[in-house]
């Protein structure tokens, strides 16, 4: 908020303390009911028939035997829903596929039955005849002349109809072109110019709770959806559009979620199909994925092949970056195609770069589609940027930390893309991580030891990251509403639009309100999961919740406080600012002398002539701006940095890379809930570790080869590194109590730092992920096939 930051008025301030998560006891006892655990009376179970082909025409679907199976209430195909509309950002995605399938996960039919077993048995009775089409197995193949079209033009489509109904004449899904400064000039001024191709791979969210949804139409035809969406209000609008319904007649209830990480930011066919089944049967319908289905049908992280060309002067000043990326869009467009919004921010603004251009082509293929995933393209971009920081430093003989510090921005700078760095802990992060990890000395020592005998080598690497920390103004509003109700017993109900996805938002929002009102955490109940009750929030994404929902909660709390103190001022015959709220009481601000219990005072307000209840509301819209058509603008109200130093041990006999220690420094503005923020950092580091070392969704010919935990390797407890985490409190002027967002940050630069560490240990730079034992071993022995450069397209902007 743009006011003097509230300083704690007593030693009992909650800010910076270790506050246990409010729902932890219930979760630890197994009482929490996730969507899988919820059953509605009379509910039916749904199952989806997915394509067995990667690319094919659907010649015939015969559902007669399935319909006849006892216990089956409904079988739907696209033919049964002629008015279905395409979903997704490019409106190219029909929930039930008509005429053709374009990927292995394509939904062809759906069944609602008395039990899951009957539903699955019915699927087996559905006969589908396909006519195979040539498989477009990667983005480059999709660009080749004569390549099969993934969304060919559909005859008879209405003019202006979306891609999902009309098709298109090429395989290009989206294009992005950005520039600031003059890259040619930047290159001319460079003493060192380097260029590399990087290949970033498919990984997937692997939330421990699989996807599920329950849909029910009530007697008036209103839709109730139990959904784990991270964007309930956007979801309402989407469903209204898809169903041709008044959005006011759609209610979304969010049960506790078994993990989000960005997987639930889009609308997916399975949810829409479940609603179709509920509509057709007039019964509640529940659909839950198996784990295999979760792997096969979930959006992935966006795979990227990119060519980065960078330059610097002999004195270490960066001059330019030129980036071309090829995004495999998969068969349908989800948020993965929009990761360039974030990637270009990193290329343009992570370290001071006077000249930059960035180009993405996202191309349809018959592969799985990518969605949003913690970091949203930033892992991929940072991997490339930091590899080049290392390489350029070495080329000019400058120490890697010094090279970075020289180019790291400070508070007050504005980047070429128009991002204004108000609070900026970038340099502090680099210094803190480097000092605590003894980075510079170890870097030299390990490099010197490379050629010594012994198969096991140590290495240390550093990388940093920049991400939005004060929301991201990409939707018409980036705001959040809060309603606060204080009752006669001093109990607070905090009604917030912001969802809890396991990250601890309800605890930190309660903490902020309690800090304002001088109440203990036990005084608050949070309501955050029902769109009929909660005010609007755009959703949990972009690491925005603490910042934006936090400011919203503080706003409502301050209004409540003002109301209370104004009334108390009258009662105690003084000015409102002579009073304070502390320890559940109204006290004299100067002396701390207690005047009355807050609860008693509230009862007095209620049952007196004033007959006043204390209920307030506040909607916070951050002071950021929308980007202009050239992608320029101060899109977030604050930005956050981190630096991570990763120390590894590489066994050159096997290629196994062990992550020994991560030393991190995170610019978080201010630590609110120390326990919660540590948990976010630790979890994010391990997610980054998986991305760097072990996780790989193997997609071949459009098929996922390892849709299970046996062969898709998540990090397990014995593999985690030691962690040394420090927080840089740059006290953001706009942030709630000075805090900035942190949810995505810890996952973003681990892979980059690991690449740097492996180079330090072995002298080998690996520009593709993940660093599995075999990939590292091959790289050490020159047995990794070289990466092909990213194809260049002509740079006319796509609109």
């Amino acid at each position: 908020m743009n006011e003097t930051l509230a300083r704690p008025t007593s030693a009992a301030s909650l800010i910076g303390q270790r506050i246990p998560k409010m729902d932890a006891p219930e979760k630890a006892s197994g009482r929490t009911r996730y969507i899988h655990d919820i059953d509605l009376p009379g509910q039916l179970h749904a199952a989806i028939l997915r394509s067995t082909r990667v690319h094919a025409r659907i010649v015939r679907i015969d559902t007669a035997a399935a319909r006849a199976l006892p216990g089956v209430h409904c079988v739907l195909t696209a033919a049964d829903v002629p008015d279905q509309r395409p979903i997704g950002v490019a409106k190219d995605h029909l929930p039930l596929k008509r005429d053709r399938v374009r990927s292995e996960r394509d939904e062809i039919a759906a069944v609602a039955a008395d039990s899951e077993a009957v539903a699955l048995a019915a699927l087996k009775l559905i006969e589908v005849e396909y006519e195979d089409l040539p498989v477009v197995a990667d983005a480059e193949a999709a660009l080749a002349p004569g390549a099969a079209l993934v969304h060919p033009p559909i005859a008879g489509a209405a003019a202006g109809a979306p891609v999902g109904l009309a098709g298109k004449t090429d395989n290009i899904a989206m294009r992005f072109d950005y520039g600031h400064g003059d890259v040619a000039r930047g290159e001319a001024e460079s003493d060192v110019v380097i260029e590399d191709v990087f290949e970033l791979h498919y990984v997937t969210h692997c939330c421990m709770g699989v996807s599920g949804v329950i849909a029910e139409f009530d007697a008036k035809g209103n839709l109730l959806l139990y959904s784990n969406t991270q964007v309930p209000f956007l979801h309402k609008r989407e469903f209204a559009e898809i169903l041709g319904m008044d959005p006011g007649r759609i209610r979304i209830i969010q049960p506790p979620i078994g993990g989000g990480f960005g997987s639930k930011l889009d609308i997916y066919p399975f949810e829409v199909i479940c609603v179709f089944l509920a509509r057709a049967t007039g019964r509640p319908v529940k659909l839950v994925f198996s784990r295999e289905e979760e792997f096969l049908a979930s959006p992935t992280r966006q795979p990227v092949r990119l060519t980065l060309r960078s330059g610097c002067k002999g004195d270490g000043t960066l001059t330019f970056r030129s980036v071309h990326t090829l995004h495999d869009n998969g068969a349908y467009t989800s948020w993965g195609a929009t990761t360039p919004f974030v990637m270009m921010q990193t290329f343009s603004s992570l370290y001071r770069v006077p000249h930059c251009d960035y180009h993405t082509v996202a191309v349809y293929s018959n592969n799985p589609y990518a969605g949003s995933f913690r970091g949203y393209g930033n892992l991929q971009a940072t991997f490339a940027v930091e590899a080049h920081m290392d390489k350029m430093a070495e080329a000019i003989g400058m120490e890697p930390l010094a090279f970075r510090l020289k180019n790291a921005q400070a508070a007050g700078e504005v980047t070429g893309q128009g991002m204004v760095f108000r609070s900026c802990g970038f340099q502090d992060c680099l210094r803190s991580a480097a000092e605590r990890s003894d980075f510079s000395r170890k870097r030299r020592e390990y490099a010197a030891r490379r050629d010594e005998p012994g198969a096991v080598k140590r290495g240390i690497g550093i990388a940093s990251m920049l991400h939005v920390g004060g929301g991201a103004k990409i939707y018409p509003s980036d705001g959040c509403g809060t309603i606060l109700k204080l009752d006669d017993f001093g109990h607070v109900t905090l009604i917030t639009g912001a969802s809890e996805i396991g990250q601890g938002s309800e605890t930190v929002l309660s903490q902020l309100v309690c800090e304002e009102l001088g109440l203990p955490m036990s005084a608050v109940t949070v309501v955050n999961n029902d769109t009929d009750i909660t005010p609007w929030d755009v959703g949990v994404h972009a690491s925005r919740t603490t910042f934006i929902a936090g400011n919203s909660a503080i706003g409502a709390a301050r209004k409540a406080k003002a109301k209370i103190l104004a009334a108390a001022a009258t009662r105690f015959d003084c000015a409102p600012d002579a009073l304070e709220l502390n320890g559940g009481r109204i006290v004299r601000a100067a002396t701390g002398e207690p005047l009355t219990e807050l609860a008693r005072f509230l009862r007095g307000l209620h049952f007196s002539d004033r007959a006043e209840l204390v209920m307030t509301s506040f909607y916070y819209e951050p002071p950021s701006v929308h980007q202009d058509k050239a992608f320029k603008g101060d899109v977030s109200a604050a930005y956050a940095w981190a630096a991570q130093v990763v120390e590894v041990e590489v066994d050159t006999d096997t290629g196994v890379v062990r992550m020994i220690r991560v030393t991190a420094a995170h610019d978080v503005g201010r630590v609110l809930n120390r326990l919660g923020i540590e948990g976010q950092i630790e979890g994010g580091i391990v997610m980054g570790q998986g991305y760097a070392l072990t996780e790989n969704l193997v997609v071949e010919g459009g098929r996922i080869r390892n849709p299970n935990f046996r062969d898709y390797k998540l990090i397990t407890a014995p593999e985690v590194p030691e962690m040394d985490i420090a927080f840089i409190e740059s006290m953001d002027g706009e942030g709630p109590q000075g805090a900035k967002g942190v949810g995505e940050a810890p996952a973003i630069c681990i892979a980059a730092a690991t690449a740097s560490a492996i180079y330090n240990a072995t002298g080998v730079r690996i520009t593709s992920l993940p660093f599995t034992p075999e990939r590292v071993y091959r790289a050490l022995h020159g047995a990794l096939p070289p990466l092909r450069a990213t194809p260049r397209m002509s740079t006319e902007a796509a609109q």
Partner: protein, 162 residues
Amino acid sequence: MSLTHEIGFTLNGVQRRATVGIETSALEMLREGVGLTGTKYGCGEGECGACTILVDGLSVNSCLLFALDCDGREITTVEGLAGDARAQALQKAFVAHGAVQCGFCTPGMMVQATHLLATQPHPDAAAAQRAIEGNLCRCTGYQKIVEAIVEAGQALAAGDAT
């Protein structure tokens, strides 16, 4: 349809009977047959540990156990840990240490950790890590879960837990 058989077993200290299909897993029986939803389906293949229960005092993946094989045995789920001193110490520590985020892996972690403390009362961090190597967590990075387990062991040893 599969033939069904009737079995008798002790569940969380209470004797009961159930009728199950031959291929029904213990996980399905507990969640759908008995209606105890604390034990979670994570993968159905014994790779994630979300379905961990105790059978005759040993921790196993209930998704890999045929329900019929529960006949005559003692089953404990997360719901049945309430009276267990080790589980209570763990729950207190899990909450205090921030070992719970989305919480989906937590029941499996609690059961597995209870089993660990029953066999190894004072585990160090390395032992705790190995003990939960079959329990996947996507949120926490395991640090605080391991700290909580170590502390619970210490608290029990010091007689702090009630």
